[in-house]
Symmetry: D2
Subunit: 343 residues, 4 copies
């Protein structure tokens, strides 16, 4: 029975608590939050758990085997490091840390102590992303040409991060999972409409050595909510709309082929494949439950989770690169990822 302690009971913490309380092989031991009203809410829903206003008491709790860190980004590093040093397994919210260097330190600390370190990139565990991943892996899409995501809404402005760290982080994890290689460069353009500290709209372009391109459109100032990704390949194309209730993933047997010869009447060489569209039925499982189940299994088996600390480091490095490019109007920033995956 794995004892779980949760630090931070604000927006996401209650979801971690609910899923932890219902997870087989685990029990919810303690919840910490500095805000009294947050603890009051926790008390109503999880009367059996120990409540604390000090996160260190959770890290030090001998009944806690696994610490879940759901606090603001700027506190992730200190809390996660303390938990690892106390010998606890750790699940940390995304983005993993404020800098790739900090994230790397957490990965090294976990490795040194043979502890499981997982980053809560929840999207990776959705049936939709899992299905897309398997389609890519079995070659149904063919060569990947592009990944083009729009993730916009009228959103709460974050105090300590820009919109890239808040929204693009989801796509960066999905890309790390799908692409099988890391981007070699990033170019980002953005604006801070109201002269605030941080960009509230941005466009991020990732370049891959294979020639593929990824683009992320993120915006806190949109009148409508959109969560839509287009994935283009040499064989098929995908439209992934996360707001669709039933058909989140649509696969189009459409594309373009070329005759190799290089003739002046170039247009004639284009042959379109306007084929059928197909929307596979997806299970209704909750991603967070799948994720926590996977985490508990990793702890039992000493296995590395899918959304490992290494993935977290790669994601944060791209976020750093994008932020650097943002301040220079799209000047590309090369990415030399120390934990780069084999292409």
């Amino acid at each position: 029975m794995i004892g779980i302690g949760i630090i931070g009971y604000g927006y996401w913490g209650p979801n971690l608590a609910r899923v932890s309380a219902e997870a087989a092989g685990a029990r919810l031991v303690a919840i910490a939050d500095a805000a009294p009203q947050a603890l009051a809410r926790a008390a109503r829903r999880h009367g059996t758990a120990r409540l604390a206003d000090d996160w260190r008491s959770v890290v030090d709790d001998p009944a806690v085997d696994l610490v879940m860190v759901a606090t603001p980004v700027r506190t992730h590093y200190e809390i996660a490091l303390a938990a690892l040093r106390a010998g606890k397994h750790v699940l940390v919210e995304k983005p993993m840390a404020e800098t790739a260097a900090q994230a790397m330190t957490l990965v090294e600390e976990a490795a040194r102590r043979s502890l499981v370190l997982m980053v809560d990139h929840t999207f990776i565990y959705t049936p939709a992303v899992q299905r897309i991943r398997s389609l890519v892996q079995e070659g149904a899409i063919g060569e990947l040409y592009y990944y083009d995501s729009t993730r916009i809404n009228l959103g709460l402005f974050q105090r300590d991060v820009n919109v890239v760290w808040d929204l693009a982080v989801h796509d960066l994890a999905i890309l790390d999972h799908l692409m099988g290689e890391s981007p070699v460069a990033v170019s980002a353009n953005g604006a801070d409409a109201m002269g605030r500290r941080h960009e509230n709209m941005a466009h991020v372009t990732l370049y891959y050595s294979g020639g593929a391109m990824a683009h992320l459109n993120v915006n806190w100032l949109a009148p409508v909510k959109v969560r839509r990704t287009l994935i283009g390949g040499s064989k098929r194309m995908i439209v992934y709309d996360d707001l669709e209730p039933d058909e989140k993933v649509k696969i189009y047997d459409r594309g373009v082929s070329f005759d190799a010869s290089d003739d002046d009447r170039y247009q004639r060489l284009v042959s379109y494949r306007m084929g059928d569209m197909w929307a596979p039925r997806l299970p209704l499982t909750e991603a967070l439950a799948t994720e926590v189940e996977h985490l508990i299994a990793c702890i039992a088996d000493g296995a590395k989770p899918i959304t490992s600390g290494e993935m977290g480091v790669r994601v944060v490095e791209v976020l750093e690169g994008a932020t650097a490019s943002l301040s220079r109007r799209g000047v590309p920033v090369d990415l030399v990822q120390p934990l780069r995956r084999a292409s």
Copy 2:
């Protein structure tokens, strides 16, 4: 009675011919195309017009007062210049020319001879764009924060231009019409998925001195057709979906406001305006008919058209800048537009 001669009867020429034949105050005099089958099609539909396989015979035709140039981009400059030098008014397809320098020469030639030179940026004459323009001008949108357009489909690859020259050109004209100022820099990222000569997907970002940002997502390799533009302002936001049959323009009384003070609990200061949505009824007039009517009126009055040669020059200069940035992975290119509009 203005005599109209049309050069090029391929994809767009037949539309120019149809509208010219029905336009009050004008008559269709001649049609030229080098392809016999194109002339055969023209003969069936416009038996009264003189048909020629040589464009010069149209330029030299004394019965022709206005020449419409609907040939491939690389021929625009030569034909339009010859027509102006022959003392004809000219309507030229977009983009106006292959280089801003050529476009500028055409503007100067038309000015020297007091001839009307119009570029066929048809979108400017759609009821939707006209309505958006009037909303912006009367201040209903407030300060313009961004213009974000997605213009993608499974498209015919152009032989002589990349996707920016083919699709983004529409948004560049609309922006020139809406913004009341010219962009100061452009950054563009793109890829040529299949190793062809020209980019078939691209993302173009425009910077304005006032702080506004425009972004254009253009793609010839998309599984679905999208023609959607988001316009964000301090007072209201617009969603313009050109594929919507009835409600192309939706105005949202939504936005974000800030308290001036700069407090640590920053998020608390954000106040959302989640207001009503409103879709004005738009007339069903055909843009091209409105445009030709306007052109005929400009010729009669010696007035400068809305989609003037000057607008055409500004659009081509941005296209040149975007192409330069594309080859350098988004390195921004400054725009020093000689015909820059007063901010």
Copy 3:
């Protein structure tokens, strides 16, 4: 402090329990269900409430002032009657009872004892229906011509009722709330695709003395879920789509007018009003919470609730009429509603 006892903790009971536990001025005293696993679920979520496997113990509980009946339809009458006779206020699920005669007996019993009897027609308390109601009342729609609802999905077949009692019941309550008069006749057509006991698809038409018509399309065998109602009036028309996340209610300034004269070129007399469309922003309040708040207020003030027992009787009488017409392939059944509202 009003003590609440809930009978039936299956599909809907848990929602009543959650809202009752959070309602101001009330406390959740007891929950009864015959199924052990249902009680186990209740225990995890409402540890403080008394749990019973026998509904009578809730009816007899002196700490209970208000009994909520969320059991199968066939048991509503017996349980609600017992609760009223025990001097408890009652909220009963819809449909109120299996026959209008039973429903009437409950109304009379409540009146005799001056107890509040409410039927849980939740839709009446949604912001969308409340907004539509106020639009109708302030004359914005003009004379009501029709109400046309489609309420279909791939649904769980009910054991003891047909699809009309399961789905059309929602529209019958909304119509009772909107129309200000009761229907004078009902015609219904339906089929039982798989030779089951009860119709699983049906079309119900209601006639009103004023000339208005209502039609309800209900189906348990549809491949897609639809919850869409069109309301047509002499001044405006409404599209109410309950599955739309943001714009559930759209008001169209569209309609048709006629010249009074009766001329052979009849079509010429039709003049269309193709006006703007407008989608008001609706609050995000939960209907069930609004309803329970209203119920508690009615008990405090001895007032009659909006979804009164009388409304429940009228709804059940139409259900009985529709079922009679169903078995006769649409032969209309006159409705002589004893509790008919003044037109």
Copy 4:
């Protein structure tokens, strides 16, 4: 070379003329219309055709082998009968005639003279309906449970027919083509919102001996245009949306199955099939061109067209039955179709 004469050049006639002029193996010989402005329009577009203000001159024209009748419904019988008696093949607009008796007389006249008589039920020749038909025939849908169509818009009120004759006629032809049997009874409910001569909204229910049910929702007073049909079967279900640009036909591998045994815990026996959705690519051929091609082939081969006079008779008989039921608030009318197809 078949000589074609067109009578009636109002709304639909111009389409018949355009397609006839382009059809292989035929030539457009004459066009008749009583209205001078209609003839003027015809002259501009079909200068080679003989123009007449008297329909008889077309019927009597020895150069005319095929007469297309596109006049108001009330004139179909007289004109079509005269054309047949003059030995011409006939294409007549839908509905074929004002009464089934008249329609039957036309069928008998054509048979006596071995002439081809076709009714212009254009929808039968659309790629969408052809695909649905083949899916039904190859058993992909299984047993047909229902056909449920919504065909509504803000429509031009017809002078001489109600909305059923104007809109439901399309679905009646499609049903005749799909069902392989004729309906045994019809029930219809409707209203005439503005006290005009004819119903402007109606709901028509058809009963089939096999147990299947069809329902048609037609309305001239709707704020939005809808052309959507649901088809439910034991194996699969179809959503056919004629306004969808790309995916008009969606096939759902969804349905409900039952355990044969009849147990009190009935709900337990329901097993849902929530399978994939699939949208086949459809060709972009114009239905009217396919139809005229088929007509010319039938004349050449002496074959009976798909949309034969017999189909036209069956459709009109249902229209008569529906009108009779409308006036009696849904009282069902039995259909004893003399030309009933084998079940």
